[in-house]
């Protein structure tokens, strides 16, 4: 790539952390980041408003019961949520807000298309798992707030950790699930490459197409 086209992002390989569970289906982008926060002209600073109407009461005080507000959620880099996560609007503010809060991975039984594309372009990995795996992750977290999960992108695996329990006699954690990901998106994430650089490097093809069609 030439100097003008290359733009490196933080490479994504493996994330291992505690996780937050939001067992709700069809979480739409209006919940992830309500429209009134879309008047910004910057990508930064949206983390403070992520899930705003669920995280805060109308008077602005935090809703202590909301999973992201609990003390044991702080520092978590993985969110586990219900099916059809990210439905609704195409606002890229949704992944910007999730990343701004500190997340690097969302695990769900399914994702809305545009959200999935937007997430990967911002170093947020959408991991699609079978409903049974999702249920297992929810149950494990409900049983132990210190449960951890390891998402290994090169190996495309999700491993349930043992949390803080004394498990020296237990078997080592085994892989809970393998997940599928578009091979090109995976390469881009692992090497921190952005698609625009790829497109710009193929300008000759664009010129050829335009000469023929327009």
């Amino acid at each position: 790539m030439t100097a003008t086209t290359a733009e490196k992002r933080e490479p994504f390989t493996t994330v291992s952390s505690t996780y937050v569970v939001l067992p709700v289906e069809n979480i739409d982008t209006d919940q992830i980041i309500p429209a009134r926060f879309l008047k910004v002209t910057d990508k930064r600073g949206l983390g403070a408003s992520v899930f705003c109407d669920w995280r805060f009461h109308p008077d602005g005080t935090p809703n202590a019961d909301f999973p992201l507000n609990r003390p044991d959620a702080q520092g978590a880099r993985v969110l586990v949520a219900g099916a059809n996560f990210g439905s609704g609007s195409s606002r890229e503010h949704a992944p910007w807000a999730l990343v701004g809060w500190g997340l690097r991975v969302v695990i769900a039984p399914s994702f809305a298309d545009i959200f999935k594309q937007n997430a990967m372009k911002n170093g947020l990995l959408p991991v699609e798992v079978e409903p049974a795996v999702y249920e297992r992750l929810v149950a494990a977290r409900h049983g132990d707030a210190r449960a951890t999960v390891t998402v290994d992108l090169p190996a495309q695996t999700v491993t349930l950790g043992t949390g803080g329990r004394d498990d020296s006699r237990a078997a080592p954690p085994s892989v809970l699930a393998r997940f599928a990901i578009d091979a090109f998106a995976k390469e881009c994430l692992i090497h921190g490459i952005d698609e625009l650089g790829y497109l710009l490097d193929r300008t000759a093809d664009i010129e050829r197409y335009e000469a023929k069609h327009h």
Partner: protein, 482 residues
């Protein structure tokens, strides 16, 4: 003999710039539409890399989401929105993009003005940083919403990297009963297949009921494809499409027009072409639809009762319904008709065109809005506003006690000053009933312009077929010219 192709496959293969194994296809974008909310970070990205807009002649901008719609007081809702609009103006100037701002006669909701100006044409690829870009598929274009990163990609290269979506045929045959329209068809489709039912697919709507729709109604259908999770929705162009487009500002002229129509006429699914999935619906059995819950798939006939959570197919469906009923404060088993309504919103890229306004006016003509109900009628574009006023529709709305506003997204999105108060119920002709979509704590019933207007008159959710009204002028085969 070539293999039979679907409409989508024809448009897709025409736009492949490059295909490599293991990499998504590089697709050429014929038209990109821009608005103030999802573009500033994309222009910043161009500046950071020292890039230009590759094809300013294929890029057009408008202001719609955060613009005020109050006629006399055009002050923007807050300094942040003002800064966002100013940024769009500055970006368009710097990068040479034509902008239809608030001072121009062309301004309006991005998905209303694209077709109105003849920018949207059959066989094109159209993108916009907005999920309802699917609207433009009504013309046989492949049109889809993208995020801000892809807005930047398309600005810089006029291309996007896309995996080929699958195809879903939605067949709607039969004759629509009186009082039932395009909005009811699409709400019934989404209720049937669910909000994730078309994920990963491009829908082609076909069948006699679709062919019978005018262009505005087809836009209403394609507009809500995204609410079923679809990548795009398309309808094959036909004579109605060509009649609607001819003479519009950016439509081809003279010999170019003749050549274009010949080309466009081939844009239909070949006999024997196959879809990855197929769903069908009988239009003659439909009733006016309304949503009771917090996603667009929660639609029922206006004559139905609010479902019980136990009717959900799976435990998580049951939890979803229970959560929705709690937010909406509705009782399972109660009839939806007769529910109190505080606000009625007639507008949005789904239902703010001439046919929608005429239909609403037909119901409201000579009647009064129920006491205590606030009614907003918001045309989709300045051109529509102008035409509606020429037909005296504004007078009908005003005489009934409704507010007649300037063009914009208005109460569809609650980021421009028009919004619900916590706990209020609205019958809305828009496309999303998500929690807080029309204002924090607000509760939305999605419905057609007829149902919305009837509900405005009675102050309750109302089946429009229970009122008498004229329907002779509602169809709009030509649409407004600007």
């Amino acid at each position: 003999m070539t293999t039979p192709k679907t409409l989508f496959e024809k448009v897709w293969s025409e736009h492949i710039v490059r295909e490599e194994p293991g990499v998504p296809a590089m697709i050429y974008i014929d038209l990109q539409l821009i608005h103030e909310v999802t573009s500033p970070q994309a222009f910043d990205g161009l500046r950071a890399r020292g890039l230009r807009v590759r094809r300013p002649d294929r890029t057009f901008a408008t202001m719609d989401h955060s613009t005020p719609t109050l006629p006399k007081n055009l002050a923007v809702v807050d300094p942040q929105a003002e800064a966002q609009l100013a940024k769009l103006t500055a970006n368009c100037r710097e990068f040479g993009v034509e902008l239809f701002d608030l001072t121009t006669a062309e301004q309006g909701i991005v998905h209303v003005i694209g077709p109105e100006l003849g920018l949207t044409q059959p066989g094109m690829t159209v993108v916009c940083g907005d999920s309802h870009t699917s609207t433009h598929g009504a013309f046989g274009a492949l049109a889809f919403g993208i995020g801000t990163s892809e807005v930047e990609h398309a600005l810089a290269t006029q291309c996007l990297l896309q995996r080929k979506p699958k195809t879903l045929e939605i067949r709607v045959d039969g004759k629509l009963p009186r009082g039932v329209g395009a909005k009811d068809i699409i709400l019934a489709v989404i209720a049937k297949i669910g909000t994730g039912g078309a994920t990963g697919h491009v829908i082609e709507y076909r069948g006699s009921a679709i062919e019978a729709l005018d262009m505005e109604e087809r836009m209403t259908i394609c507009n809500m494809s995204i609410e079923a999770g679809a990548r795009a929705g398309m309808i094959a162009p036909d004579e109605k499409t060509f009649v609607w487009l001819e003479g519009r500002r950016f439509a081809p002229k003279g010999d170019e027009w003749t050549a274009a129509v010949a080309r466009w006429s081939a844009l239909r699914t070949d006999d024997g072409a196959t879809f990855d999935a197929s769903v069908s619906l009988d239009a003659s059995t439909l009733a006016p639809m309304i949503t009771y819950g917090t996603n667009p798939g929660m639609g029922i006939a206006v004559t139905d009762r609010v479902p019980d959570p136990s009717s959900g197919a799976t435990p998580s469906d049951q939890a979803t319904i229970a959560k929705a009923l709690a937010y909406m404060d509705l009782e399972a088993g109660a009839p939806i008709a007769g529910r109190r309504v505080d606000v009625v919103f007639i507008g949005s890229c789904t239902n703010s065109r001439m046919g929608d306004l005429r239909a609403a006016a037909n119901v409201m003509r000579g009647r009064k809005v129920a006491a205590g109900v606030r009614v907003l009628v918001v045309p989709g574009s300045k051109a529509i506003k102008h035409q509606a006023e020429a037909e005296g529709l504004d007078q009908v709305f005003r005489a009934a006690g409704a507010e007649w506003r300037e063009a914009g997204c208005s109460m569809c999105i609650a980021m421009n000053g028009d919004q619900l108060s916590p706990g209020q119920y609205a019958v809305s002709t828009s496309n999303r009933n998500f929690e807080g979509r029309q204002g924090r704590g607000g509760r939305t019933f999605l419905a057609s312009p007829l149902t919305a207007a009837a509900s405005a008159i009675t102050g309750k959710v109302t089946d429009p077929r229970t009122l008498s009204f004229d329907t002779s002028n509602a169809r709009n085969d030509i649409g407004v010219q600007s």
